[in-house]
């Protein structure tokens, strides 16, 4: 390459100059481009641009920071680590024994909300130290199978290694390590205003928890004719080895929420970027009292079907109750970062002003 370019190129005719004759045949054209005189704008870092810009930036960051902080303060969040909390400790201990891996274990944790959660309340489950972002783990899925390709249903992609087929060579649907490790605890939230009050089951809406595009485009069930049931469609496949229920029976209550379009599955399949993450489990239904304004303060309990083993990887399990704003959940980093940046910029701006005042103002250094 270099040898090639290093070769003298000779005179290159870009235009039809060769056709020109006469005494000035080889005169280059007087175009602005060739003469490097294209009209141009040359901004410079002058005092009159930099200093006002700096102060403006400081003010901007301050305004953004303050308004974000106010916004974030308006959100409420409650986190509850239930890995070994309450009766769940029994389940935790029992799951330590590998032979109990398949067995269901129920437990209950209780907590109290000091303040009312106003507005929409979102119920999340959280996992800590679960590496959904390992390269091999992330790759171990077949999007073509999950979008309902008949071909891929029975012949999962090799990416699904090591969960393509079971020992009997039956294809796994959904294949891959991601689907296999799907979170399978389930929660039922109860509200008891004061001890002795009647216990209300907190209604959670378990649909609409995944991205619209995921629900409607990325995940589809394999095509079926009207006479077929979902179970028949999935005939000839087996469920992932860690699953207790087949894919077409994931949601016993809602037949339309089964198969690859089961929303819990969809939510799980959107792998988290970091080892600590939370995933949406349900949204508070605010149609009936006392939940029309959100979650009232008081005592709550959660009945948990404790299936998901975390002790293998030193993980923790949480439930998170949170309200959201236009800014999202309760993350105070950005507001604080903006405030800090504002301060920094302000200090730098003052520093630059001083420098300009002492050295640059009279252009002392410029007139040498």
């Amino acid at each position: 390459m270099q040898g090639l370019l290093g070769k003298p190129l000779g005179r290159v005719h870009w235009s039809n100059k060769a056709a020109k004759t006469g005494p000035l045949a080889h005169r280059p054209d007087n175009s602005a481009f060739m003469q490097q005189r294209l009209p141009a704008w040359s901004p410079m870092l002058t005092t009159s641009t930099v200093l006002p810009f700096m102060y403006c930036m400081a003010v901007l960051c301050l305004v953004v920071g303050v308004s974000l902080l106010i916004t974030v303060q308006g959100t409420q969040e409650m986190k509850l680590d239930y890995t070994e909390a309450g009766t769940c400790n029994n389940c935790f201990q029992s799951l330590k024994n590998v032979s109990n891996a398949g067995k269901s274990c129920s437990c209950r944790v209780v907590f109290t909300l000091e303040h009312e959660f106003k507005g929409d309340v979102f119920f999340y489950y959280g996992l800590q130290n679960f590496h959904q972002n390992l390269r091999k783990y992330m790759d171990s899925r077949d999007d073509a199978q999950m979008v309902g390709r008949k071909q891929n249903l029975k012949n999962p992609s090799s990416y699904c290694e090591p969960y393509i087929r079971d020992e009997k060579d039956v294809p796994i649907a959904p294949c891959g390590a991601v689907a296999n490790s799907m979170f399978n605890d389930s929660f039922a939230l109860q509200y008891q205003g004061q001890p002795g009050d009647p216990i209300n089951t907190v209604p959670l809406y378990r649909k609409g928890i995944a991205w619209y595009t995921d629900e409607n485009v990325k995940f589809r069930n394999p095509p079926k004719n009207k006479s077929q049931t979902l179970a028949q469609v999935f005939e000839g496949t087996t469920s992932p080895p860690y699953w207790q229920k087949p894919v077409y029976l994931l949601d016993p209550l809602d037949a339309t929420n089964n198969g690859f379009i089961n929303e819990d599955l969809i939510v799980w399949m959107r792998e988290a970027a970091f080892p600590n993450f939370k995933k949406l489990y349900g949204v508070l239904v605010r149609t009936q009292e006392p939940f029309t304004n959100g979650l009232p303060a008081g005592n709550y309990s959660i009945d948990i079907v404790y299936n998901f083993p975390v002790q293998y990887f030193k993980g923790r399990k949480q439930v998170v109750l949170s309200t959201v704003t236009w800014f999202g959940g309760q993350n105070r980093f950005l507001p604080i970062a903006y405030l800090v940046t504002s301060g920094l910029v302000f200090i730098i701006a003052i520093f630059l002003t001083v420098i300009w005042w002492k050295f640059g103002k009279d252009a002392k250094n410029m007139n040498e």
Partner: protein
């Protein structure tokens, strides 16, 4: 030549040659056998039958032999292709990617394009080879002169003379030779244009063949209807190719620095990958082993093996730090900047219709770093248009220097019908003297009319044109012509002149050629009266050594005249003659012939013979020829000196002449009190130099003569303390020695500029050679890197083009390293969060397109258009040149600073999004910290941050730059939304899994606030730092920028032309980006495109 008509006395001959390339003896080759026979063909061919093993006539357009056969093709071709560093590098990466355990990026993204380029290149090579495969060719004579060196056989002219013009060699020649049948042996191919050694054997008799009998490639026939020749050397073996093609491949200092940096980066890459591999091993032991339930491994946990694989996986991911593609980009930028030189109207010389030309496209930025200029004098500083100005005849000086308003004094030459009307002389007394019949004066002009190698051309009676090898000669012959001694025509055996209206023909017995060692030329003629005379003209010192003792008194007066002339800056020659007697001449001619046909020691024997006959000469007088300074030379030298560039003049002229020119070009000034002259060839030079070294002040200007080995360092030390250095009486070899000396000991970037063949060695020795295309042929230009017509363009070449090229290259390198390091470091930080599993932060497509589409156009725009100050300010403030000389803009330090900056930026660009997104959700409570959303956020932050950095670096925002920057950003969003669309996912499901990410993520305020924060944090320190620097320590650039309002240029240009260039540039650009993005097929297209240009 195509319209050959067979000569009446000769039917068209064919010359079948059977080539036997076996070396005949140590240094001679048997070229072929020549047969002449008669046939009746109408077209004339030299019929060449090639032996298969022959290389003599191979390797060029017409005659080739094939390189591959059917079986060897595939392995050989592949082997050749993978010898290219870039291909080999990609092959290694590909092999790594093919291992599933390692592959961290999709394997097909590399393998398909690589296969494609290999196939295409192979097909191209194969088709080339099929074309090349031939064993038998007819070679039309018309092509011979453009392809080969010919041995002249016969021609249309009487006595088989051929008149040729060798514009590309050096001067005009007459060639002569004829022979019927025989065998030719000659020396192997070499690069000496002025030498040819060979023998011709005819009927057992051997004749010598010399330079006079060879038509060199590249010459044109003049006044000759046809000729036949035997191809001696073809293609690359021709003397022209041998002498111009053997240039050392020059590299710039930035190239050298880049090589070092690339090695460092390789080391750095290895270190990074090792850290991550160790991290992986630790992680595997502590975390991975317990995560095995969810991600089973076939072989269980093996931390060591896993770390090993991780190392290679990260080599793939982090390979963007090793800028293999950088080389190509750099070449493209240099190419662009070379075109600006070719296109510059301000370096175009209308009088000779010569534009400046960048003959080497790889040295541009070095033009901005020159510290020493070595300049020839004649033809470089001066015009090399000679006018006969003064002369000294028989101890009396005639003529005076031309003054303005002195027109009345010009001599009237109307009495002489053949006079050249353009000739001007200012002393009527000389004409009177000649017309009165003064013998000395007549002999003086007779000598000028006879002793030369000028070719006359007389198309119509009385209209004479002279073709002179050197302008001096032309001037002298023209002077003789005007004074009544008109040179009319010549044959190899005679010269016809008009002496004061009478035609006289002299027999030409011998020509004792001029060369750089002899520094004189003589002819031996026999006058019609039968008198034998030797006429000699040459350098005064040389001629003085050979004078008869009786001339002593005349010598003294002439010497004083000569000194006076030299003091006026005139070029002088001494003239002398000698009468010879017949017997001696007879003997001498015999010995001369013997020496001529000798194979061994011919040169030396001839020199001895010449030395023998050129003695006891009678001095006639001296001539003084004026060579005017070129326009703008003093100003140019002044500006270059202000730019702290040291200018050394190396000339073959006398000291006085050189000194005078020195004053005329402002190199020497009256205020330079101490002028030292170091004489050569004296024993006490060492002491004198060291004495000078002690007393030298800043205003001194010694002219050094000494170049002996042991004095080199002394000379250099002395010379470098001086403001001006003029070296006189230096030979071409010494010129190169001086350049090498400075190059070697001062470690400085040197530039040599010259116009003649005697400057070639110096031009090749210097870092950058500049050729002036002037009066002395093209040889200097052919071996130069840059060429133009006038010395004053050097100012623009260095102060404008050189400066800009250096600035652009450095800006490009700094930015390129910055953007790739920043890009890569983010991966490094992410490794600590993904268990060192070689998971990429960005979408695979972003990785592919980052260099390809999103960032390449803006940086290319910057490195092709950027100007910190415009050209006028650039040349008016030569101080602006100094950063390049001091390597300020790009060095190892700058590179380290670049890396630190990248490191800071990547920390911001990873950890701000990480913290901002931690545990947060969308405004509807749904997921936003998923991998795909985070990848999108990280890549958007990165792209915007590097684009802002580019904008801060760009100082000259043309519409093109604006278009490139905004266009690239828009392209990013457009392409991203397209690739993340439903359609793309449904068609290519596994290729575009990011469906909906852009829509679901980029509509979130917190995402945009994160992007804003990263941008502010990346840009602000840069702005603050630069502003502080400008305020506290303003560089000369800042001052110039602050004092001079940058004027906008609005010029008229033809829109269509502009658009065309633009499209071509974009085309080149597209090739460039394809190349940089691991899509190797573009390399092929690029190669072929450039090949096309070369052919064109």
């Amino acid at each position: 030549m195509n319209q050959l008509s067979p000569p009446p006395h000769l039917a068209s001959p064919h010359w079948p040659l059977s080539l036997l390339p076996v070396p005949y003896c140590n240094d001679s080759l048997l070229v072929g056998r020549v047969y002449m026979y008669v046939c009746t063909c109408t077209t004339v061919h030299v019929h060449v039958s090639l032996n298969m093993h022959s290389v003599l006539l191979s390797q060029d357009n017409a005659i080739r032999t094939s390189k591959y056969n059917v079986f060897s093709f595939l392995p050989l071709n592949l082997f050749e292709q993978f010898q290219r560093l870039a291909n080999a590098y990609f092959l290694v990466l590909l092999i790594l990617q093919l291992i599933p355990e390692i592959s961290s990026l999709s394997w097909f993204t590399t393998v398909v394009p690589l296969l494609l380029v290999l196939t295409m290149t192979a097909v191209k090579d194969a088709s080339d080879d099929i074309v090349r495969d031939g064993r038998y060719y007819l070679l039309p004579l018309s092509e011979c002169l453009s392809q080969a060196d010919l041995l002249l056989l016969t021609s249309s002219e009487p006595l088989n003379l051929v008149y040729i013009e060798t514009a590309e060699l050096d001067g005009t020649f007459i060639l002569k030779c004829v022979f019927p049948t025989g065998e030719v042996r000659c020396e192997p191919p070499n690069n000496r244009l002025d030498k040819f050694k060979g023998t011709l054997t005819v009927n057992g008799q051997t004749y010598a063949l010399d330079n006079d009998k060879v038509l060199l490639r590249g010459c044109t026939l003049r006044n000759t209807e046809w000729c036949f020749g035997l191809v001696v050397f073809g293609g690359p073996d021709t003397k022209l190719m041998q002498s111009s093609g053997k240039t050392v491949f020059k590299r710039t200092s930035i190239d050298g620095l880049m090589n070092v940096l690339v090695l460092c980066i390789f080391g750095f890459l290895a270190v990074m990958c090792s850290i991550l591999a160790v991290g992986n091993a630790i992680w595997e032991v502590r975390e991975g082993s317990v995560f095995i339930a969810f991600l089973p491994r076939p072989n269980g946990v093996n931390a060591g093996f896993s770390a090993f694989l991780t190392f290679w996986s990260y080599v793939i991911i982090l390979n963007t730090v090793v800028p293999i593609s950088l080389y190509v980009s750099v070449e493209i930028i240099r190419l662009g900047n070379s075109f600006y030189i070719d296109w510059d109207r301000k370096m175009y010389y209308p009088k000779s219709d010569t534009p400046a030309q960048a003959r080497t496209t790889t040295l541009n930025e070095e033009l901005g770093q020159i510290k020493y200029i070595f300049s020839d004098k004649t033809g470089t500083l001066t015009q090399n248009i000679m006018t006969f100005n003064k002369c000294s005849i028989n101890g009396k000086s005639y003529g005076r220097t031309q003054c303005r308003g002195d027109k009345t004094q010009t001599v009237d030459f109307t009495w002489n019908e053949l006079a050249d009307p353009k000739f001007v002389f200012h002393d009527p007394s000389l004409v009177e003297l000649v017309r009165e019949g003064d013998l000395a004066a007549q002999h003086f002009f007779r000598l000028l009319a006879l002793c030369h190698t000028v070719m006359p051309e007389e198309k119509t009676e009385g209209e004479l044109y002279y073709q002179a090898q050197s302008p001096d000669e032309g001037a002298l012959v023209t002077a003789a012509r005007n004074f009544g001694f008109v040179f009319r025509s010549r044959t190899p055996e005679s010269i016809r002149i008009m002496e004061m209206g009478q035609e006289v023909t002299y027999d030409l017995l011998a020509v004792l050629d001029f060369n750089n060692v002899r520094k004189r030329m003589s002819v031996i003629v026999r006058s019609p009266k039968g008198k034998l005379i030797l006429f000699c003209k040459g350098a005064d010192t040389i001629v003085y050594e050979r004078l008869h003792p009786s001339c002593l008194k005349l010598k003294d007066t002439t010497t004083s005249h000569l000194n006076e002339y030299a003091g006026d800056g005139l070029r002088t020659l001494a003239l002398a003659y000698k009468d010879l007697d017949d017997d001696y001449m007879e003997d001498w001619r015999r010995r001369h012939h013997e020496a001529n046909i000798a194979m061994d020691g011919k040169e030396e024997r001839l020199d001895e013979l010449y030395e023998e006959i050129e003695k006891d000469l009678m001095l006639l007088g001296a001539t003084a020829v004026e060579d005017k300074l070129q326009d703008g030379v003093p100003q140019t030298i002044e500006q270059l000196a202000k730019a702290d560039i040291k200018i050394w003049v190396l000339t073959g002229d006398k000291q006085e002449t050189a000194e005078n020119i020195g004053y005329a070009c402002n190199m020497l000034r009256e205020d330079m009190t101490e002028v030292f002259i170091v004489a050569a060839n004296t024993r006490d030079v060492t002491t004198s130099i060291s004495c000078f070294a002690n007393v030298i002040t800043h205003n001194s200007s010694p002219k050094a003569y000494a170049l002996e080995k042991d004095l080199e360092l002394e000379l250099l030390r002395t010379a470098c303390m001086c403001q001006t250095v003029i070296c006189c009486r230096v030979t071409p070899l010494q010129k190169a020695q001086v350049v090498e000396l400075v190059k070697h000991y001062k470690q400085a970037v040197t530039l040599a500029i010259g116009d003649g063949a005697n400057d070639v060695s110096m031009i090749k020795a210097a870092h950058i050679g500049v050729g002036i295309s002037g009066q002395e042929g093209m040889q200097a230009v052919l071996s130069s890197d840059y060429s133009f017509a006038q010395f004053r363009y050097l100012q623009r070449l260095l102060l404008v083009h050189g400066r800009w090229s250096y600035l652009r290259m450095c800006k490009f390198l700094r930015y390129f390293f910055y953007k790739n390091f920043t890009f890569t470091f983010v991966h490094f930080w992410y490794a600590f969060f993904c268990g060192f599993s070689a998971q990429t932060v960005y979408d695979e497509w972003f990785i592919t397109l980052y260099n390809l589409v999103y960032t390449a156009l803006p940086v290319l725009g910057m490195s092709l258009f950027d100007q910190d100050v415009n050209d006028r300010w650039s040349s008016q403030h030569p101080q602006l040149y100094s950063p390049g000389q001091l390597n300020l803009y790009f060095s190892k330090k700058a590179f380290v600073r670049c890396m630190m900056h990248s490191c800071y930026s990547s920390l911001i660009l990873f950890f701000i999004p990480w913290a901002a997104m931690y545990d947060t959700v969308r405004d509807d409570g749904k997921d936003i910290v998923d991998y795909q959303s985070f990848a999108l956020l990280a890549q958007t932050c990165l792209l915007i941050a590097v684009t802002i950095q580019l904008s801060l670096d760009t100082h000259y925002w043309t519409a093109v730059n604006q278009f490139f920057v905004w266009g690239s950003l828009s392209a990013y969003f457009a392409i991203t939304f397209t690739m993340y669309s439903n359609g793309m996912f449904l068609i290519f499901t596994s290729t575009f899994p990011f469906i909906g990410t852009a829509r679901n993520s980029l509509n979130q305020p917190n995402v945009w606030l994160t992007i804003l924060l990263t941008s502010i944090l990346c840009a602000l320190p840069v702005v603050a730092y630069r502003f502080t620097l400008i305020q506290l320590w303003p560089t000369i650039n800042d001052k110039v920028q602050a004092t001079g309002p940058y004027d906008m240029h609005y010029v008229n240009y033809t829109l269509d032309m502009y658009c065309m260039y633009y499209i071509i540039y974009i085309y080149i650009y597209v090739l460039y980006v394809l190349y940089t993005s691991d899509v190797p097929c573009s390399r092929f297209i690029l190669c072929t495109t450039l090949d096309m240009y070369v052919l064109y």
